[in-house]
Symmetry: C2
Subunit: 740 residues, 2 copies
């Protein structure tokens, strides 16, 4: 009935309900029109008030800093308004402000603060001068054709060319690095060069300063030598070296979101003004791949995976990501699923890319954003491990399960010691968490907003991750200088079948004389409401050791099948490598060779089943010891501990099941269904596990540990039964009514 009378009801109802009822009226302006209107209100208010162009004096947060910073965005916005409304008031405003800068700039020495390796003129650091020039280049471009020839000449010669020279030839230690500071420098110099049609500047930006023009002993802010470091400089080498061939950024998506801006701004300008360079296709379309890598490294709620030193909560829907989505759509193939992200962002950029996105959204072209699994390589050459994002969708439309498996290189100064660690998410966010960073960005009360001491003592340590800790010591002793020499390796991956996806990787350097090999699956089967997350972690070494495998579950434990002794006096679990921050709330002994741990989080139930040895211990831990400033979240965790073995294999299966809300107080399916998890074979060559549904259905998963060749055939005898398969892994499902 609803469908049949659709058109008629729709017209009548809309005319009555919507047109006659202003309270329910919907803004029918496009995203672009809405953003334009908001920008106009903001810029008009500032224009009415007038802007100041003060003599630079203050550090960040101080008056002159904040004023010049506001000016760059006001000018950029005013340029967009002039372009899209044609209102000359905006052009006149930009010109007038630029002439104020043109008057001031030639009088300026370097900023009086002298606190940076590359002190700026308008700001305390060149980085902010470059930010200014990137944004103001947009504005200048918007009025360039409108300006009389002699005014252009005056601005070019008094303001912009001097500024470009200052940021490059006069400050080579800022300009000639392979570092995001230099990306901003090159974008600034190159973009203003494109506006002024100054080929010398554009070339300088693309290819850097010739090494022979630099002093031999020039050093950057880490006191590294500028000249020797890479032997290359400029925008093009940065495109070559900043990303893996897949667009993966070694510090993770939180930093990629930040680093991507100058790449995209300059890239888009080059595409428009130097089409012959074909920058968008450079390195096989690396800019598009970086955008793609950014949008794919988010959980189903849109939050970026907290890889390395990430501040949690940064999201696909942050304002900063708007331009990446817009450029991604506009410049790289009009993927209609990006339009759904743009709709949720609720705004677009005020440029051709944003206009294209807005028009497409208005035309109803948006399609659901349901990314599939992806494997990213790490390292400029793609040969330093990587990360896998493995996704599956549940029976219900909006349900999604995703795990991030990390076998990447160290990630430089922001890297964590979390090799072969993972985190797990569903449509409501984190389920098995990575702690992220110990930092409250920009929150003065918390160490001035900088990384906190606990970032080193806790967040980077292995035990803060869902990764194997040996002898209560972090990977590489928690030393970056050791860790940066090695990376894990992808052993095998098979994401061709969305119902049975594998990723498997090895790390053989984190502990001397010890190998680690972890294989993880997402298994989707109608017998279970949601995909199962399965982990097999094997370690072998020459010396007997103690193994700790943490599970940083989020939520409230409901029950477990251990004998637990609660601690009525709590002491920190250790003195270093993160253990000094852990309380043991309870010490438990698992029963019957199998640990079952059942908890509730965000309306769903979870049950993890693990195989245990008779001597295993389970520690129920709580974060927060030795935390004098109360910087750490009081997260709960479980540590599965096995002592005194040279080799060990940990296997576990995580079920997501049921639901509960206090609004109706009706629990659905609160218990897990898995029984009889077993390690059916475990040799250097093969590992196999099996488990049952309580209805009797059995699954067995076999993996070849030493040969991942998809064409190789394997024959394995387990308990008198022969298994034959081809390729690295094999799934056998036996229904309860079949003979076993």
């Amino acid at each position: 009935m609803i469908i049949r009378n659709h058109i008629f009801i729709c017209i009548i109802a809309l005319l009555f309900a919507a047109c006659t009822s202003p309270a329910e009226e919907k803004n029918t302006d496009t995203l672009f029109e809405q953003e334009l209107a908001r920008t106009q209100v903001r810029v008009d208010a500032i224009m009415e008030q007038g802007v100041n162009v003060p003599v630079p004096k203050d550090m960040a947060g101080g008056y002159t800093h904040e004023e010049h910073k506001r000016n760059w965005s006001t000018l950029c916005d005013a340029g967009a308004l002039f372009t899209h409304t044609g209102d000359k008031r905006y052009a006149t405003f930009i010109r007038d402000v630029l002439f104020e800068y043109a008057e001031l700039y030639p009088t300026l020495p370097r900023h009086p603060t002298n606190r940076s390796y590359a002190t700026g003129k308008l700001f305390w650091q060149c980085l902010n001068d470059a930010n200014w020039l990137v944004y103001v280049s947009h504005a200048y471009d918007d009025i360039y054709d409108w300006l009389p020839e002699e005014e252009r000449k005056q601005l070019n010669e008094q303001l912009f060319r001097p500024m470009a020279d200052f940021l490059s030839v006069e400050t080579p230690q800022f300009f000639n690095r392979i570092h995001n500071h230099s990306t901003w420098a090159c974008a600034a110099v190159g973009m203003i060069g494109l506006v002024m049609d100054d080929d010398e500047l554009v070339d300088r930006a693309l290819n850097g300063l010739p090494p022979e023009s630099l002093p031999d002993d020039l050093r950057d802010n880490d006191s590294g030598l500028i000249k020797d470091k890479y032997g290359r400089a400029g925008f093009l080498p940065q495109l070559d070296l900043s990303f893996s061939p897949d667009g993966y950024f070694a510090e993770g998506p939180y930093y990629l979101r930040y680093a991507l801006s100058p790449f995209l701004f300059f890239g888009e300008a080059l595409d428009e003004k130097r089409p012959g360079l074909n920058i968008l296709e450079y390195r096989d379309g690396i800019l598009g791949k970086a955008i793609n890598a950014l949008v794919l490294q988010a959980d189903p709620t849109g939050d970026f995976f907290p890889i390395n030193d990430s501040h949690k909560g940064m999201s696909l829907y942050s304002d900063e990501v708007v331009k990446s989505v817009d450029y991604g759509y506009y410049l790289y193939g009009n993927d209609p699923s990006l339009l759904t992200l743009a709709e949720k962002q609720g705004t677009v950029s005020l440029n051709a890319a944003g206009k294209a996105v807005s028009d497409a959204v208005a035309a109803g072209k948006a399609e659901p954003f349901r990314p599939t699994s992806v494997l990213f390589t790490d390292g400029a050459d793609g040969k330093e491990g990587g990360v896998a994002v493995i996704r599956a969708y549940g029976a219900e439309e909006d349900h999604a399960s995703v795990f991030l498996f990390k076998y990447a290189a160290q990630g430089m100064g922001h890297g964590h010691f979390d090799r072969l660690g993972y985190s797990f998410y569903n449509e409501r966010g984190e389920v098995i968490q990575d702690y992220g960073s110990a930092r409250w960005v920009n929150i003065d009360q918390k160490g001035g907003g900088r990384y906190l001491k606990e970032n080193n003592t806790w967040a980077k340590q292995t035990v803060a991750h869902n990764a194997l800790v040996v002898n209560q010591t972090s990977h590489f002793d928690g030393e970056i200088s050791k860790a940066e020499n090695f990376h894990p390796n992808l052993y095998a991956a098979d994401i061709s079948n969305p119902d049975f996806q594998l990723v498997s990787a090895t790390e053989n350097n984190a502990y001397p004389g010890r190998e680690m090999h972890r294989s993880m699956w997402l298994l989707k089967d109608d017998a279970f409401q949601e995909p199962l997350l399965i982990s097999v972690l094997r370690t072998s070494g020459s010396a007997s050791a103690s193994f700790d495998l943490p599970l940083w579950y989020k939520g409230q434990m409901l029950e477990n099948n251990c004998d637990c002794e609660i601690n009525n006096v709590m002491k920190p679990l250790g003195t270093n490598h993160g253990y000094q921050h852990l309380w043991a709330e309870a010490n438990c002994k698992p029963k019957e060779g199998q640990l079952q741990f059942n908890w509730f989080h965000n309306g769903r139930f979870f049950t993890q089943t693990s195989v245990t040895d008779a001597e295993d211990e389970v520690l129920l831990v709580r974060l927060g010891a030795n935390d004098p400033e109360m910087n750490l979240r009081r997260a709960p965790g479980l540590i599965h501990r096995r002592n005194g073995r040279a080799n060990a294999t940990f296997i576990s299966v995580l079920e997501t099941h049921g639901s509960y809300t206090p609004r109706n107080e009706i629990p659905h399916d609160p218990y897990g269904h898995i029984t009889d998890l077993n390690l059916v074979v475990d040799s250097p060559e093969y590992t196999g596990l099996s488990f049952n549904h309580q209805d009797g259905t059995q699954w067995m998963i076999l993996i070849s540990n030493q040969n991942a060749d998809p064409s190789v055939s394997h024959n394995l005898n387990i308990n008198g039964r022969a298994y034959n398969w081809q390729g690295v892994h094999h799934l056998i499902k036996t229904n309860n009514n079949e003979s076993k």
Copy 2:
């Protein structure tokens, strides 16, 4: 521009955007139509499958129990479908099922389980038999006129009259109490009486069984004597005794939501069929007042205040509250703000009330739900203290601040020892929390879903509340038998000025020989972004004591101005009265006579400023000690401790300020603005406090402690300056440019 072209743009845009784009199509059915459609799908599926009427055997959760339970709701739904669609399939279905019951019922003895003080026939307890009869009475009513006379007669005589007699004369210990069980009993007997036009049953339901007809030694499930307890029984006495004259329910809104159903069902039926009784106006419209009390006892997110043993998260938007909102609108004055609640509920009841609500919503009559402050009395006569809900709205449209101040009677078995305690909420939920109950309703893993041991040892204890604890001992020694003999008293309230609202109450029995008097204000002033919450708590006694005033803030502490010693070995803070569940994470000494405690929660910053004495201690505590099943949330708290005084006055001011989100990482206004909080006068007669904004503006609040008469004038000399005012309290604001 948007406004000017509204109609035209609207028509064009809607025709194009909505009518041609099915993806964006909105369901234009009314709430009633949508609910009818959902119900039809549900009932049709069950009818197709067929229903069972098994011989009763099982406890709750078992097959026969769940089957009879599902039948009552299917029959009730089918009745509504027959009424609203006219489709006779539904009437036939109801009749056929009723005849199955008519065949079974006469054969039934009491339920074989024999586990209740009032064992039922269909179910293990009469309560569920009464539930069945209430819902099935609706269905029977819907088909009564459609049924042939002889079929009615047969059902009346074989099924319904016997069932009504069983639930009343045959089980008087169930029927004749003043208790929600008996409300269901009376509603069941009365409603089926109304359908059958059986005046005897209706009278029995309204007035109970004559006491002389009961055995003298009949006892209820608490082994209380039925006959002596109140001397009254039936629906009308229950209306007299179950609520305070304001509609307040002694166990709080969580239980009111549950208890209200039979009152409303029977009330609505009486209104329709015995209009002469004028039941809706009974006791000055007590049913409307109870509905009103229910909807007003929720925080701005719709969650009910967790008074006493409440399960947190029960909400105005729960399905169970739909009928209360519908009846409230339909029967009591068509308050258009209730329509906003109905819209958020997303559904309506399938009856005349729901239809009225749905039509009014469709007609665009909904108005914002922005309740103002309200004082509820407690006790059937309204003379046993009460609770105050004090609300103010912030500068931004959707901002709201609310505190609940509790000076009610004990609340029977579900009561907590939290006299003069409060909790505080904003538009995002809890800020200063009441723990609620220690219970996971219906979650089998957690003690079978029953109240947990920690409900007694923690949740009920005084230290679990934002209430004064003396000598680390709960009010009334934590004994209900003592507590139920006394109630606090409202001392004064002034909610006439929404910018300066006071509520003040006393409790003089919680500790022998000790008086407590707490006054709380919500002060709204343009100098602050949000209303300030101000507390003055005075206690005086004959003996020196130790005072603990907890602050159960939610969120992450950012900083405080104390010298703190962190505890690297943690022991429980005590051995009983809740202290056995607390860890002291840090022991702190406040500096400079003033404690400032700054935290972050849910995107906002908070700063509480308190006056401290030189000897005061501050304990930063964490819940969770002695919790073997991990039943308790690891909530953080602050305990302000003052030792060795007979008298003490605690004053504090709480600021809500600023905002922060990790999506843009820009903190706004992260620090509080209050300085120089002082107790300027504190005598048995008067207490006064003053504080400054850092801009120099000063506020002084004076209160008369012993005379709350609004007509009385007060003269007070403070530091050589005379203050004169009339009424219990007085606010003096001195701008920074005025002489002080």
